[in-house]
Each structure stands twice: as structure tokens, then as C-alpha cells.
């Protein structure tokens, strides 16, 4: 090769290198990358096409060798790599932000469920109303109010409004999850505000022993583990809410050890929690006490609650808020066996499973020392923590209000089957409510008057099924739920039947429209402390039980969900 040709070739290479360095988005020919642009993923060649063409022609014409071409390409790639930002952002089921070394990842999502509800209630909702399972607790003392309404109601509601921040820190195995909520509860008397719903961390390095800690939904029963974003109906069945692990709320603060559900056919979950519901702990729950230890505080000096023997006459002086049972914790265990495939917890067979998916599971929870009311077992005196009592009422366990300190021992068993758009799912629940104060609840200090009978236990079940009329798009589903809130009482059953037509707009749960019809019947029988006769002497009478009847509600809920 002549000196002249070598000189020309060197000049050519130099010119190309200068050209490369002057291109802002210089990228390598074969490396390229996918770029998300206007919602589409487009493959973009890394190198400017004109430069690439020049280089290729130079190789073809023999002006540069293949080796030189490869070297330029390599240098171009390195330069691109060095010039590229150290993070990247894209949209995929939320806005995603990641550092290039994948040491930090953030996904931001938003979910809303907007709903219109048209409901029709029978006259029993006007009188006597619902005072036993879902009473309203008003004021600073949380006085009981019967929940009453006229026959028909039409309402628009932002049923759920959630913000999510999730991802990993330091390492893909150290994950975080934060959920904020901003919705207003159905019967709330003032608009809701933004509040913390979940905050938890998971360490998943050991697939057989993942650890999650913080505030989150307790892994106990199938319907509560599932998100409200992936249901077959606009709302959970009432019985599903009544049998949470703590008996108070589906969320709690604690720690769970479990294995990776995607890797093992049998999954275990073992958890320890406060057992006091979300954003709360047992130190917030206290008993009012006089300055004299073991003497009940509050205004108990008059009838029917005179000061107990051995205690000074009660008066409004310094009293104590005494924390009792604060060394108790809730213990939860669950087992799930994926017998066929891996059906997961999302309801319905949205994925249109090509092979049968079948799983069974069960859970046990022990939550001791929950103060459901005053020690003297009646409303208005020495009241227990309002938050605890409101949680009981909100989840339909209002009949347990007034039972004093109780231990909850709750069982759940479930099964699910999915195949080619068809799904069948069911659960059975049983809750043993163990009162610390044995015998019939007293209506006065001397216990000369008592409630007519003791609270029994609680049990319930539901079964639901669905079929995709159009795979991954249109589903028809039905559910029947049965709930006996007090096994020792008659005429107190709660029965619920639902039918729902669901349209999943893009083949995922994220974007959906549901039209759910629900028929719910509440028996008003049974004794509820403070809401049934007899009340303590001198407290008047409660005429609700003399009215009786069955509360019937027919409701149509039209709901739009978007999760992005």
C-alpha cells in the first residue's frame, strides 16, 4: 500500500472520528436501543445513519479496513455510553425511573375508582335501621347511632383514590412500597384527606424466606390479600371484611416471613403484628382508672354503676389512662398450595389460562386482648379506645362492641380454580370470640341485671364464579355470601347476592368498567349490648328490637377504574 493511500485513509478516519464526536446523539451501529416515544417503543440505531453509511462505504471501497471500522464502532459505543445520562425514565404501568446500575428504581402509579350508586332500601332501613353490625359511632365518646336512611339514594362517589410509590433501593432485592389514599368513606361526615395507607419494605434475597415489614395487608385470607383493583365486583362482600386477621382491619403493622409465591408450589406466611389496625398500636388503647389503682375511672359514682367496694367515691379529679394488655401481639399463619399452575390472588381468569389453575389455602390468626368497650360492659362509661371501636363497626363487627376485652381466634379456608376464562373461588371463615369476663355481660356494677345471653362466635362463607364472555375483555360474574355474625343469636343472618358485568378495556385489571348489582339482607335479631333491651337500669328502653324485621338493600354500582 502506498504512502499516499495510507495518508488518505488516515485523513478519512480522522474526519469520521471528528464527525462522530460532533454528533450529539452519536450511538453505535449495532447496539442501538429501544426508545419510548409517544407511547410506542421504537428501536433507534445508536449511530447517526449518515455517518454509518459513510463508514460502511469506506469499508466497502477499501478506504478503511474492517478492523478500523470495528474500532471506530467500539469507540463510538463507549462514547455514547459515557455521554448518556446515569438514569432513565419510561412509562410502563406507571411512570418508571431507574438508575442505570439498577441500584435505585421508582415506580409511581395512580389509581382511582369513580362510582355511581343507585340503591333502594326497604322500610326497615328507616325503622329500626342497622344498629347492630354497622352502627355509627359519633362524637368524642363514640355514642352508638343506628344507621338509618330513606328508601332510595343516588350518589356519585370517588370510592378509591390512591397514589403509589414503589421500587427498590440499593439492590433489586430490597423493595419499598408506599400507598397513600385520598378517598372519602361512604358515610363519612366530612371529606377525606390524604393519608398513609401502606408503607413497607421487603427483602427478597432468599426466595424461601422473604421478609416484609411495615404496614400492609396481613397475609391471612384470600379475598383480603387480593387488591381491590383486581376484583370481579365493584365491592368486596361484607363477609370478607368481617373476618380479617385482627378482627379490626385488613391492614396492620408488623413483619411477615414468607417464600416466593412464584417459585414454590406451597407457600407459607408467618407474621407478627400489633393487632390494632393500621397506623395504630396498642399503646393508644387505654382503660380509664382512678388515681387508686384498679378502681374504674369515669363518672361511675351514680347508679347503676356505683363505685365498687374498696374504691373511693368517684369524682372528677386526677384519673389515669392505664395501658393494659400492651405486651400482646397478633400472630398470623397462612399456607397456600398451588396444586395446578399458579392461580394467584387476582379474581377471575383474566389471563385466560390455557392450563387449569387450582389452589387451596388456609389461615389462622390469634389476636388477644382487644378492648371492645368498657370493663363494665356498657356504652357511655369508661369507654375504650374510639379507633378500635370504630374499626369494629366499620367492618361489620358491631355486635362485638361492649363485650369487654376479648381474644380473637380466627380461621379461614379457601380455594380457587381457573381455566380458560372460567373461575370459581370460595372461602369459609370462623371466628372464636373469647371474652375475658366470663358469664353474662353485666348491666350494673353489682351484676344484678345481665344481658339475656352471651355472644357466641361468628362464621361465614362466600362462593363466587365468573366467565369471560369475550376473553380478557368482558366477564360475567356472580357471588353469594352468607354471614352469621353471632352464632348464639337467631334472625341475625346477613345474606348477599351479587351479579356483575365487567369490561376490561385493555385486557388488564388496570382499566375497567363494572356494573354490579347487589342484593343484601340483614337480619335484625339477636342481642347487641347498648342497642338492645335490657339496657342498664335507669338508661331507658331501646325500642329497636320490638320493631325487628329484615333490612333489604338492592344496589347498582357503576364503577370506572383507571390504574396508571
Amino acid at each position: 500500500m502506498s504512502t499516499y493511500r495510507r495518508g488518505v485513509r488516515a485523513l478519512m478516519i480522522a474526519a469520521l472520528l471528528v464527525g462522530l464526536s460532533s454528533v450529539t446523539l452519536a450511538q453505535a451501529a449495532d447496539s442501538g436501543k429501544l426508545v419510548e416515544k409517544d407511547g410506542k417503543y421504537v428501536f433507534v440505531e445508536s449511530m447517526d445513519p449518515s455517518l454509518k453509511l459513510l463508514l460502511e462505504r469506506s469499508v466497502k471501497s477499501g478506504m478503511i479496513t474492517q478492523g478500523e471500522y470495528d474500532q471506530v464502532m467500539k469507540e463510538s459505543e463507549e462514547r455514547t455510553q459515557l455521554l448518556s445520562p446515569s438514569f432513565r425514565g419510561w412509562y410502563d404501568r406507571g411512570f418508571n425511573l431507574s438508575m442505570n446500575d439498577n441500584a435505585f428504581f421508582l415506580k409511581i402509579r395512580f389509581r382511582s375508582q369513580l362510582r355511581f350508586t343507585q340503591r333502594f332500601r326497604n322500610d326497615a332501613w328507616r325503622n329500626p335501621g342497622e344498629a347492630k353490625n354497622f352502627p355509627e359511632l359519633l362524637g368524642v365518646f363514640g355514642d352508638y347511632r343506628a344507621n338509618r336512611s330513606e328508601n332510595s339514594a343516588s350518589s356519585f362517589n370517588v370510592r378509591r383514590l390512591r397514589f403509589y410509590f414503589m421500587g427498590h433501593l440499593f439492590d433489586p432485592d430490597f423493595k419499598y412500597y408506599i400507598q397513600m389514599r385520598a378517598e372519602t368513606a361512604k358515610n363519612a361526615q366530612s371529606p377525606g384527606s390524604l393519608s398513609l395507607f401502606d408503607v413497607n419494605f421487603s427483602y427478597t434475597r432468599l426466595p424461601w424466606a422473604n421478609v416484609q415489614f411495615g404496614q400492609y395487608k396481613v397475609y391471612f385470607n384470600r379475598s383480603q390479600i387480593n387488591s381491590t383493583a383486581s376484583m370481579q365486583f365493584a365491592e368486596r362482600a361484607l363477609v370478607q371484611d368481617a373476618f380479617t386477621a385482627s378482627g379490626l382491619d385488613r391492614r396492620d403493622i408488623g413483619i411477615t416471613i414468607m417464600n416466593d409465591e412464584e417459585l414454590f408450589p406451597v407457600n407459607y406466611y408467618i407474621g407478627v403484628f400489633n393487632g390494632a389496625g393500621p397506623s395504630f398500636n396498642r399503646l393508644g388503647s387505654f382503660t380509664s382508672e382512678q388515681a387508686t389503682v384498679d378502681c374504674p375511672g369515669g363518672q361511675t359514682s351514680g347508679n347503676p354503676f356505683p363505685t365498687p367496694a374498696g374504691c373511693p367515691v368517684n369524682q372528677r379529679n386526677l384519673n389515669a389512662n392505664t395501658r393494659l394488655d400492651v405486651d400482646r401481639l397478633m400472630y398470623v399463619a397462612r399456607l397456600n398450595w398451588n396444586i395446578l399452575g399458579r392461580p394467584g390472588y387476582g379474581e377471575g381468569d383474566l389471563a385466560y389460562s390455557e392450563t387449569p389453575q387450582f389452589a387451596i389455602g388456609g389461615g389462622y390468626s390469634y389476636n388477644p386482648g382487644i378492648n371492645t368497650s368498657s370493663d363494665n360492659a356498657f356504652v357511655g362509661l369508661d369507654l375504650a379506645n374510639l379507633n378500635i371501636r370504630r374499626q369494629l363497626a366499620a367492618f361489620g363487627n358491631g355486635r362485638q362492641l361492649g363485650l369487654g376485652i376479648v381474644d380473637y381466634s380466627t380461621w379461614a379456608a379457601d380455594g380457587v380454580f381457573k381455566y380458560r376464562g372460567f373461575s370459581l373461588q370460595g372461602e369459609f371463615y370462623f371466628k372464636n370470640v373469647i371474652r375475658h369476663n366470663k358469664g353474662l355481660p353485666c348491666m350494673n356494677t353489682a351484676c344484678t341485671e345481665t344481658a339475656p345471653n352471651n355472644f357466641g362466635n361468628a362464621m361465614g362463607w362466600y362462593v363466587q364464579s365468573g366467565y369471560y364472555l369475550i376473553p380478557r375483555t368482558v366477564e360475567l360474574s356472580a357471588r353469594y355470601a352468607y354471614w352469621d355474625p353471632d352464632t348464639a343469636s337467631a334472625n341475625d343472618l346477613i345474606k348477599q347476592a351479587d351479579v356483575s358485568l365487567n369490561w376490561f378495556l385493555n385486557g388488564t385489571y388496570d382499566h375497567q368498567i363494572m356494573v354490579t348489582y347487589s342484593n343484601t339482607q340483614f337480619g335484625t335479631g339477636g342481642y347487641a349490648i347498648g342497642r338492645s333491651a335490657p339496657l342498664p337500669p335507669g338508661s331507658g328502653i331501646v325500642p329497636l328490637d320490638t320493631v325487628g324485621g329484615t333490612l333489604i338493600e338492592n344496589a347498582i354500582r357503576v364503577q370506572y377504574q383507571i390504574f396508571f
Binding site: V42, G167, H168, Y345, T508
Partner: protein, 188 residues
């Protein structure tokens, strides 16, 4: 009903039975070089859904496969086409790490079938981010079904081999193409 011909982190090839009875001229003996040559001729763009189709600016077609992708896929397609029956088709998935490899993978997927003299190809995903797990890594137990397949418009160059069969389905007259000795020339 499916059976797996090949599966690794990069390529999955399966034989799928057609839901409705059909009569392909399977199995087919094509070399990986011939398959690569055929696939090299395809380009693709996503079909917008109505009513967006009326307003959205359409992106120009992109080559269906890069050269490295063809080299990875073609040998396994050769194998798949040899094992496929008259009522079956060869399904393929070409996988690459996604934007967040813990969460999803970049996927090109579709299926191929031959009914002489035509070769049919349908693309379900083109560089689509498919979740690697059935349930969300970060949002515990939230189901992550793969996105539904999209509609794509395929092109083949040289265009004279891109024709329609008697059922008006678009297909490549692959025997003629291979005999011509021309190379697939999708715009690159």
C-alpha cells in the same frame, strides 16, 4: 395445546395447535439461512386503533428483526417448522432484557405457518415490555397479565412476493422468493 421445541433466555419456540381445523403443508424443510433470508424482508408498524387511526401520525415501518435477532431465532424456527403438524403452527418469542429487567422483558412474538406456496406470519408483540412474573414485584400479589397482542401491519420486500391467498390473507410466496435468489430487503 402447545409443546415446547426450544426454550432459553433468548428464544422460545413452541408448536401450537390451531383452534379451528386447518390444513397447512407441514412439516416444512427450510434451512435457517432461508428462514433468515425470508424474515429479513419483513418490516412492521403498529396499527392504530380507531378512532386514533384517523388522527394519529403513523410511524414509518421498522425492520421486524435486527441481524443479531435473526441469527438467534432462525435455527430454532428451522427446528420448529420441522416438527409442526398440518393443524399446528410455530410460535416464537424473542426475548431481551426490559427497561427494568427485574420487571419485564422486551419481546417480539408471533407465529409462522406454511400452506404451499405461501408462508404466513403474524406478529403479536413487537418490542413489547412483557412482565417476567405473574404477580407484581413491587405491588404484592397484584396480577400482571401480559398485555393483549396488538395489531400490526407487516410489509415484505421485494414486494412482488408479498401477495394474498385465496382467503385474502397476506402471505409471502416463499418458494418463488427463495428460487429467485434475492435477499429480503426490508428498509433498514
Amino acid at each position: 395445546m402447545t409443546r415446547t421445541v426450544h426454550e432459553d433466555q433468548r428464544v422460545v419456540v413452541k408448536v401450537q395447535r390451531e383452534v379451528e381445523p386447518t390444513s397447512y403443508t407441514h412439516p416444512v424443510q427450510l434451512t435457517s439461512g432461508e428462514i433468515a433470508s425470508l424474515l429479513r424482508g419483513f418490516s412492521i408498524r403498529e396499527q392504530q386503533r380507531l378512532p386514533l387511526r384517523w388522527f394519529a401520525e403513523e410511524l414509518p415501518p421498522k425492520p421486524l428483526f435486527r441481524e443479531d435477532e435473526l441469527q438467534a431465532l432462525a435455527p430454532h424456527l428451522e427446528q420448529g417448522l420441522q416438527q409442526v403438524g398440518p393443524n399446528e403452527r410455530t410460535h416464537f418469542e424473542l426475548r431481551s432484557p426490559g427497561f427494568n429487567p427485574e420487571y419485564g422483558r422486551d419481546t417480539i412474538a408471533g407465529w409462522m405457518a406454511v400452506r404451499d406456496p405461501y408462508l404466513y406470519i403474524t406478529i403479536e408483540y413487537f418490542h413489547t415490555q412483557i412482565p417476567v412474573r405473574k404477580f407484581d414485584n413491587y405491588d404484592s400479589n397484584y396480577p400482571l397479565p401480559p398485555p393483549t397482542p396488538k395489531d400490526y401491519i407487516l410489509y415484505f420486500e421485494p414486494g412482488r412476493f408479498w401477495s394474498t391467498d385465496e382467503a385474502k390473507a397476506q402471505a409471502v410466496a416463499y418458494r418463488q422468493f427463495l428460487k429467485s435468489g434475492e435477499a429480503g430487503t426490508a428498509p433498514r
